[in-house]
Amino acid sequence: MKNEEIRLKCHKIVGGYGEGKALVSHEPICFYLTDPKTGIVREKDHELLGKNLANTVLVFPSGKASSVVQIDGLFKLASHNLAPSAMIVKDIETVLIVSAVIAKVPLVDRLEKDPFQVIHTGDRVKVDAEKGTVTVRSYVPQS
């Protein structure tokens, strides 16, 4: 089977370019509940518990948790170079925008297709927020 690459339009929220392996979360994310020294999610009962956010293209529905901690969480990850390299989100909200501006992480929304349908954990994803494009190369496990 061939690795297919698709290119999708999106809407820029915070500019820049980032690429990496996709990490998909169907649950909202609180960056404060990750370990700032490793990037590993430590939120009890979260579907990403034990997974590492560092340098991934993080795909998630929305942010959550108090504004105080959300920004500090992403800022701390970024100051240890452990923030996601880009973020694709479905429902934007102010706290998440400010977090991304301050941590300088590219952030996009309004993908022309449902990100949870077209992007799967492990896919290679490039996010060019300036051009408003997301490129997805699907991950096919070696048999």
Binding site: Y32, S66, V68, I71, D72, F75, K76, V95, I97
Partner: protein
């Protein structure tokens, strides 16, 4: 965005670098939401904290000479001098907190250090456009007071306070204040702790949305509403809600949904709330400390705690703390509540909250609180969550059973 000439000048740096950084952030947010213009605000609340992300931005503005153009209150940080009397706060953390507090002073903020400023220090009126960050403040101001605010971050609220404006988007537009989910409450909701659990459940269940609650028979108290706001906007992103008949904006369910149908209907029973409570428990038995006041205790809650502690002594192995504002403590002192709590062996502490780094002396200890937020952020080894009466009883016995 269409900016006025004055806003253009701010963006070009003609009002100084601090104001420029502030309006840059607001323009980025406005662009993200396709806002067409800025609107004036009357006041703001910046959810300041003794943390690095906050320090970075407030110093950026303060060092750039920015001053708040409208009243802008501040959230808890902590008083280093007070905590140094108890134990050695790590010097890096102490420095962050001190610099944050100084920088908010330099930008001309109201130094309330309170997470419920909407009750005393910075009170919006019905219909005012404001920028209020802080988990309980945003939904309280939108729903209980009927002012309009988005779910601001500390930084976007501070930026709005400095510029005196916010982009016109989100909850500043009537159509966006429409209910999204119908919640049928079958749970009994006996007290403010049940409202805490209800908030926890709804936030977790709906994530991002505006719930419309029906089935609530008794008018919720101020404290019950504060707890509901704090928890639904912590376990989820709930910037507004309706309880038609009790909240101000919509008198009927139909009006709350602006004539549309809910996306979802959810029933909440006592069993669900019990399950929420069970999920929050990580320990039982011996406890090392009790921490109350997240969100900050109101005068009424401080009085309740004082009453429960009458003729009792807190166990010598347990530290007992109530966090509140300077305003509330001043009045509580005059009324004798502070002395009553201190005589029982407890303390009322101002300007800080459970979630500040100043409590790291308890990081390997087992605590008890009436606020799931305290358990959620996992600053401590273990945290038992229960209502105020249970917390006081455990503080006296030294253990929770």
């Amino acid at each position: 965005m269409n900016l006025t000439r004055e806003e253009e000048k701010m963006l070009n740096g003609e009002f100084g670098q601090g104001t420029q950084s502030a309006i840059e952030l607001l323009v980025a947010i406005g662009d993200a939401y396709d806002a067409e213009q800025m609107i004036p605000i009357t006041r703001a609340h910046a959810a300041s904290s003794g943390q690095e992300g906050d320090l970075y931005f407030v110093e950026l503005l303060a060092n750039g000479g920015a001053k708040c153009r409208v009243p802008t209150s501040t959230n808890p940080v902590y008083d280093i001098k007070f905590f140094h009397k108890l134990y050695k706060v790590p010097s890096y953390e102490a420095e962050v907190a001190q610099r944050v507090m100084e920088a908010y002073k330099r930008v001309g903020a109201i130094l309330s250090w309170s997470c419920i400023p909407y009750l005393s220090e910075n009170i919006p009126l019905f219909g005012e456009a404001v920028a209020f960050s802080e988990s309980s403040a945003t939904p309280y101001v939108n729903s209980v007071i009927g002012a309009t605010t988005n779910r601001e971050a500390a930084q976007s609220a501070l930026a709005a306070g400095v510029v005196g404006k916010t982009p016109k988007y989100g909850l500043h537009i009537k159509e966006n204040r429409k209910g999204t989910v119908l919640i049928k409450v079958e749970a009994a909701l006996k007290d403010s702790f049940d409202y805490t659990l209800l908030g926890q459940f709804i936030g977790k269940r709906i994530g991002f949305g505006i719930p419309v609650l029906i089935g609530i028979m008794r008018r919720p108290s101020t404290e019950e509403l504060i707890n509901f706001c704090a928890m639904s906007n912590t376990s989820g992103a709930v910037p507004m809600f309706y309880i038609p008949g009790f909240t101000v904006e919509a008198q009927t369910v139909k009006e709350a949904f602006q004539g549309d149908k809910p996306n979802d209907k959810i029933i909440v029973t006592d069993a669900e709330l019990k399950r929420m409570w069970d999920e929050l428990q990580t320990a039982s038995g011996k406890i090392d400390f009790v921490m109350l006041g997240c969100p900050h205790y109101t005068l009424k809650q401080v009085a309740e705690a004082a009453k429960l502690l009458e003729r009792k002594k807190i166990h010598r192995g347990v530290s007992f703390w109530i966090c509140t504002s300077a305003t509330t403590k001043t009045l509580a002192k005059i009324m004798g509540y502070v002395d009553a709590i201190e005589n029982a062996g407890g303390s009322v502490v101002i300007d800080t909250c459970i979630d500040e780094p100043c409590w790291s002396m308890y990081k390997d200890k087992v605590g008890m609180t009436d606020s799931p937020k305290c358990a959620y952020y996992r600053r401590f080894k273990d945290v038992v969550v229960a209502g105020l009466e249970d917390c006081v009883e455990a503080a006296v016995k030294g253990k929770y059973e």
